[in-house]
Structures are given as structure tokens and as C-alpha cells.
């Protein structure tokens, strides 16, 4: 099929056997690629519940039809596995160039099974796969390990010391980019797999090369002209959100006790730009260039993203931006997810403050952070406890009501008590407390658009719509920032004009319309290339007939399939919840609506999804999505 390298390799580390994993064109049309195709493989591979660190667990690395196609922001790849943090499916997406190189090496994906007795890495050159000794790489940080793997022009991904030591939120690092969430790096470590290198000369054929080129030019033009992707993101990076989040009470502060931080100005995007920025940069084929290059320990490194500024900054009452930059770099080097690490430290600080765990950590006193990174990665002393994440810490020391995780995964830097839809998204996200997999409704609730974050009206419908759309975008292979063309420019650029005020106030009342479209995607059997360029791109690359409706249905199919895997892993609807601090405590005493009113949204969310009252996808829904054979 056009747009695909055509093969997925199954690599058994126990037996060292390599074989072709069977994937049909029908599978590609149904699941596209990325996390959605990975979910299909994981569902098919496991007959029942699998433990994250067991030999039975598999790692599925997938690219997508747009990966390496020259579509804007299309150098993404995905890693899916059973998470040691949540015990559920985790899909972690990463930029850089590895996906592009893997496809050139002749593979759309890799299914890595078993467990190697020796420490190894996988080397892929022009379709040939070698399992090589990695003793010389073991114990090395991610930068050094990648350097030792040689040629700069090859795609590489490695784990750091954290992954080797099975830290439950260990990341996989590729160049400077991270597949950060859910502990995918620890599963590599459990399999004695240090990393993967890939390169090759294969050219992937396109269905309509000329049409694709024209479509891309227009798409890139729109991204460059957009106020966010052409203005804020290149100039301020994701860090540019800190100030707005602070004033909207969305900035996780003091282990989520508050939504704003008195010293936010010391850690915001403007200060990062004025005092630390060397230059901005981006992934291959990215016209946005949101990455920051800053200096840590005397060398130029990747700067912190918004999430890191929140979790290692305001959430710890840490106003030292250079320290955040340094710790961010150390987390990348040791292979730690900055969100889960920062949240675990914040939780430990509050446990200490409340006398539940005498660990010596205090809010505002963050000089120990670099040492904590090293100890956590090595699982030494207090680090061995922090390496377990907030849920397990709360099971040991108490404080479950302020252990800020969902299903075991620490939430991102968006404090949801000022954004009800984001709260619902966190609670229902397939991978746990993730803003992106949760639908990222906060972009409507104050970060982009200006829809009332306090109302629950319409939020269930919009959450579902965005969860499914982002699933589809991810499966297609582009960065989620490419979806900002969806937001109407006049509303975005001038939030005070009459049209913007009308749209923002009317949006919650359109939940019914959104639901209607969600349940009848045939009504969206067309493309609006300027609004959502992705389906047409996929069609031009693959030849698969794709429109907005079919695209959204692919996303919904993936979301439901992931849910089914989680249910098989033991998930029940009871776990679609938030920590008591976020649902029970008011963020601001003066505002009686400043807690997440999940009970007003969750039942409706299940109904609109076509799930049972206990949150299980019904046979009827699965039939509608063409995946009835996956029913449990």
C-alpha cells in the first residue's frame, strides 16, 4: 500500500528470532498507524492481563502513513506497551527523526517481545535486523549512549540509567526528544534492551506525489500564518503559556493546592526567552520550531517545555529558572519523565510537611533536585521511593487525596479546577492523567479560545470529539500542534470582539450538535482542507479514501480499542476519577464552582461514547466502529 514501508518486524529477544508481523492492507485502512495500530497489535498479542515487567509484555513501536512524508510536523513515532506506572496500556509519542529512519530502513513498526538474557541493542540497516551486545552502553546516560551508537545520520532511541533501573516513569530518549510518559523506558530496561538504531535507503511511494506537495505547501503556509503556530510557539515555545495559565488559575502550584504562583514571572516563557534562549529549533519537517535551545552546565541543550516549568517550577514553589533548565536536562540524560518526577517530588514535599513521611523535602527548597534526579534514576535511598510514583507512595505513606495522579499516571501542569472539560479529560484518558490523550479541552477553556471553564455544559461531547480527533491525528503521524488550524482565527486573535464573545459563549450549547456528528460521522463525509488538512493528506499519501468523518471514526475506533485493552488489564469505570483534592476541595474559597464536578459529566460521557453505565464499550458501538470482534 502507498505511504507504508510495508513491513512490521517481530523481534523476539528471548529466542533472538526475527519474523514479519502479519499486517494486512485492511488493518492499515482501519487503524492507520501510530498508537491506534499499536493498540490493535497489543490487543491481538495478549489473550489476558499482562504484567508490565513480565516477559510476556511487548513493546510496539509504530510509525504512521505521514511519518517521513514531508507533511508538516510529521517526524513522529509511537511507543506502546503495558505501563509499569499504571498497569494499563501506555502510548508515548515522540518527535525527532527516528520514525523517519525506521521507515527508510524498511519498517513501519517493530514488535519487540520476550526478554534478552544479555544486555542488548537492536541495529536495523536496510531491512536487516541485528541484536547486538550493549554492555558498553549500560550505565551510560542517554546523550553518551547515543554518541556511542555512532553515525549522527542514523535514527536512535535509548534509555538512560532510570530505564535500566526500572523507574516506573522512565522515558525513552531519541536525540533530545522524549517518549516520556508512562514508563516505556522501564519496559525496555526489563527486557535488557538499551536502545534501537535504524537507517536505510528505502523510499516510500506515494499515491499522489504532486497533489501532496501542493497540499503541503498550503498547509505550511497556514501554519506559518497562524497566530499560535506561526507566532507564539516559535517565539516563546510552549513556555509561552505559563503567564496565561497563571492568570486563569490553571497553573499547577504547590502540589496542586493552588492554580496560580506568585513568582510565575521568574519561570515564564518571556523570561526563558529574554534570559536563557540561544535559539529555537524543531523536529524534521516542522515549520513551527517550538523547541528551545538553552544552556545547562555550560553546553547548549533542549529547554524545558511548559509541563516541566509547571511540575518542576510552580508545583514545587521553585522560582529558579536555571535550576529548572538544569534539572530538565538531567532528567533527559538519566531518562526520566519530568512530569511524573516533578509530581512525585511535590507529593513527597507535602507528605513531609504533613508529617506523613519524614523525608527532609520542603516546598521552595529545591537545591536538592539535581541530586534527587540521580538518586531516583539509580533507585538509591529516597530516590528508590520517588521512582515508584505518587500512587504507590500514597499507598505506603497515605495522602491518597492529594496524590495527583489518574489511574497511577501523574497529571500534567494544567490545574483542572478552572477547566471542567480538562478535568473530565484527565479522568477518562486511556493512559491516565494525560492532557493530550484526555482531549486537551483546556485549549477551549482559556488557552486559545475563551469558553467558560467553570461550566460543565457540553464538555462531555467536546471532550469525546477532541479525544477521538487527537487519536486520529496521532495515528496519522503528525504533531498535535497541527490541529491549531481548527481554531477559528478571528476568534483566536481577538477574543474581545463581538464574534469571539458570541462563539465562546455559544460553544457549550453546541454539545448536542457535536454529539450528533460524533454518532453520525457520515454527515462529515467531506474534507475542509483549510480547517483539518490531515484526512486529505492521508488520502494523498496512501490512496485510502479519507474524509473528516472517516478520520474521526478511526480515532474513535482506536480510543475504544485502547479502552478494551485497559478493561482486560483490570480497569473498571470506578477508576475514571480524579484525586479528592481536585473534586472535593475548592481551588478558591470565593468561587463555589472551583472544583471539578466530575459527577455532572461522567455519566453523560459514557452515554455519548456508547458505553455501559460502568464504562464498557457496548457491542453495538463496537459493531458501528467495525471492531465487534474485539468485544470482551
Amino acid at each position: 500500500m502507498f505511504g507504508y514501508a510495508g513491513k512490521i518486524a517481530r523481534i523476539d529477544l528471548s529466542s533472538r528470532e526475527v519474523s514479519d508481523y502479519p499486517i494486512s492492507d485492511g488493518d492499515r485502512e482501519k487503524f492507520l498507524g501510530g498508537k491506534t495500530l499499536a493498540a490493535k497489535i497489543i490487543f491481538d498479542e495478549f489473550g489476558s492481563k499482562v504484567e508490565a515487567f513480565s516477559e510476556e509484555n511487548i513493546i510496539v513501536i509504530t510509525t504512521s502513513p505521514l511519518t517521513g512524508s514531508t507533511a508538516p510536523c510529521s517526524s513522529r513515532f509511537n511507543i506502546s506497551t503495558i505501563s509499569p506506572l499504571t498497569g494499563l496500556l501506555v502510548s508515548s509519542n515522540c518527535g525527532g527523526s527516528f520514525g523517519l529512519h525506521l521507515k527508510r530502513a524498511g519498517y513501519d513498526g517493530l514488535v519487540i517481545a520476550g526478554k534478552s538474557e544479555e544486555r542488548v541493542y537492536i541495529d536495523i540497516i536496510d531491512e536487516e535486523i541485528f541484536i547486538r551486545d550493549a554492555n558498553h552502553l549500560w550505565g551510560k546516560n542517554t546523550g553518551e549512549a547515543q554518541a556511542l551508537l555512532g553515525d549522527r545520520n542514523r535514527g536512535k532511541l535509548v534509555i538512560g540509567i532510570a530505564g535500566e533501573n526500572l523507574v516506573r516513569y522512565a522515558a525513552v530518549i531519541s536525540e533530545e526528544r522524549a517518549a516520556g510518559r508512562g514508563g516505556v523506558g522501564a519496559v525496555f530496561g526489563a527486557k535488557n534492551l538499551k536502545g534501537i538504531v535504524a537507517s536505510g535507503k528505502k523510499n516510500v511511494e506515494m499515491f499522489d506525489k504532486e497533489g501532496f506537495k501542493r497540499h503541503n505547501q498550503n498547509w505550511i503556509k497556514r501554519l506559518k500564518a497562524n497566530a499560535l503556530t506561526g507566532g507564539q510557539l516559535p517565539k516563546l515555545g510552549t513556555a509561552g503559556l505559563v503567564s496565561m495559565m497563571n492568570y486563569r488559575n490553571l497553573l499547577a502550584t504547590r502540589n496542586y493546592a493552588k492554580g496560580s504562583y506568585e513568582d510565575f514571572e521568574k519561570i515564564n516563557g518571556e523570561t526563558l526567552r529574554n534570559e536563557h534562549l540561544v535559539k529555537n529549533k524543531g523536529c524534521v519537517t516542522c515549520p513551527i520550531q517550538c523547541g528551545r535551545v538553552v544552556k545547562a552546565f555550560g553546553k547548549e541543550v533542549k529547554g524545558p517545555e511548559l509541563e516541566t516549568l509547571g511540575l518542576l517550577g510552580s508545583n514545587l514553589l521553585n522560582d529558579d529558572l536555571q535550576l529548572i533548565i538544569d534539572v530538565n536536562h538531567l532528567c533527559d540524560e538519566y531518562g526520566l519523565d519530568t512530569i511524573s518526577f516533578g509530581s512525585s517530588v511535590g507529593f513527597a514535599m507535602e507528605l513531609n510537611e504533613k508529617g506523613l513521611w519524614n523525608n527532609g523535602l520542603s516546598f521552595g527548597d529545591c537545591s536538592l533536585l539535581p541530586d534527587l534526579v540521580k538518586k531516583t534514576a539509580a533507585r538509591e535511598c529516597i530516590g528508590n521511593e520517588l521512582a515508584e510514583g505518587t500512587r504507590r507512595l500514597s499507598q505506603k505513606y497515605g495522602g491518597i487525596e492529594f496524590a495527583i495522579n489518574v489511574k497511577g499516571m501523574e497529571t500534567a501542569a494544567y490545574e483542572p479546577r478552572a477547566a471542567q472539560g480538562m478535568g473530565l479529560g484527565y479522568a477518562t484518558s486511556n493512559r491516565g492523567g494525560c492532557h493530550l490523550n484526555g482531549g486537551y479541552l483546556v485549549v477551549m477553556e482559556g488557552l486559545g479560545m475563551n469558553v467558560n471553564g467553570s461550566t460543565t455544559r457540553g464538555k462531555a461531547a467536546f471532550t469525546i470529539f477532541f479525544q477521538d480527533m487527537m487519536e486520529a491525528v496521532s495515528a496519522g503521524g503528525t504533531c498535535l500542534f497541527t490541529t491549531y488550524t481548527l481554531m477559528p482565527e478571528p476568534v483566536l486573535k481577538n477574543p474581545n470582539n463581538g464574534l469571539a464573545r458570541f462563539v465562546n459563549s455559544a460553544v457549550p450549547y453546541f454539545g448536542g450538535v457535536v454529539s450528533l456528528l460524533h454518532n453520525n460521522t457520515w454527515l462529515l463525509g467531506f474534507n475542509i482542507k483549510g480547517l483539518l488538512p490531515h484526512p486529505h493528506s492521508i488520502e494523498l499519501v496512501t490512496g485510502i479514501k479519507m474524509d473528516i468523518g472517516k478520520f474521526l471514526k478511526t480515532g474513535e475506533r482506536g480510543y475504544n480499542l485502547e479502552r478494551l485493552i485497559n478493561i482486560r488489564q483490570g480497569l473498571t469505570g470506578c477508576e475514571d476519577k480524579l484525586p479528592a483534592r481536585l473534586t472535593g476541595d475548592l481551588q478558591r474559597e470565593a468561587d463555589p464552582k472551583s472544583s471539578v464536578r466530575l459527577d455532572e459529566m461522567l455519566g453523560q460521557y459514557y452515554r455519548l461514547r456508547g458505553w455501559s453505565e460502568s464504562g464498557v464499550p457496548t457491542r453495538e458501538r463496537l459493531r458501528k466502529l467495525g471492531i465487534e470482534e474485539y468485544g470482551l
Partner: protein, 82 residues
């Protein structure tokens, strides 16, 4: 004095982050900002998300509101993406 704080793209593009302006109506404060910052327009300022003493306000509804000594006016360009 009124403290005016400016964030986001508008802060980067016009190289302004903080101003101190004498008390008065919001409309007059915006005019004074235009006077002090060459290149910036009133229209551009009114496209920002505005907060007065940490409460979000609609700029068109507060133009005639008088700010007093110690009040804080915040302007932030629309922003997203994290």
C-alpha cells in the same frame, strides 16, 4: 500608580513587560501605553486578554472603568499549545 503588566507575543514584539501609569480610566491608560510605546496600536492592545486585579474582564466593557492607585492591569496575547 497603576501597574500594567504585559505578557505573550505582544510583550515580545514591542519589548514591553511592565509599565507604571497614573490612575485613571482604562481607556486613558491604554492611550498612555500607545503614547509610551512607539509602534503599538490601541487596536492591538484591545486584542489582548485583559485582567484587572486578577479578574478577567472584557476590554470593551471596562474602558470607562477607573483604576485606582495600586490596581493592576494585565494584558496577555492569546496563547496556546503545551
Amino acid at each position: 500608580m497603576i501597574t500594567v503588566r504585559i505578557f505573550g507575543l505582544i510583550s515580545v514584539e514591542y519589548d514591553i513587560s511592565r509599565m507604571y501609569i497614573e490612575e485613571g480610566m482604562v481607556s486613558r491608560i491604554l492611550d498612555e501605553m500607545v503614547r509610551q510605546c512607539p509602534g503599538i496600536s490601541r487596536g492591538k492592545l484591545q486584542q489582548s486578554v485583559m485582567f484587572i486585579n486578577k479578574e478577567q474582564v472584557n476590554v470593551h466593557k471596562v474602558l470607562s472603568r477607573t483604576l485606582k492607585d495600586g490596581d493592576e492591569l494585565v494584558l496577555i496575547s492569546p496563547s496556546s499549545g503545551g
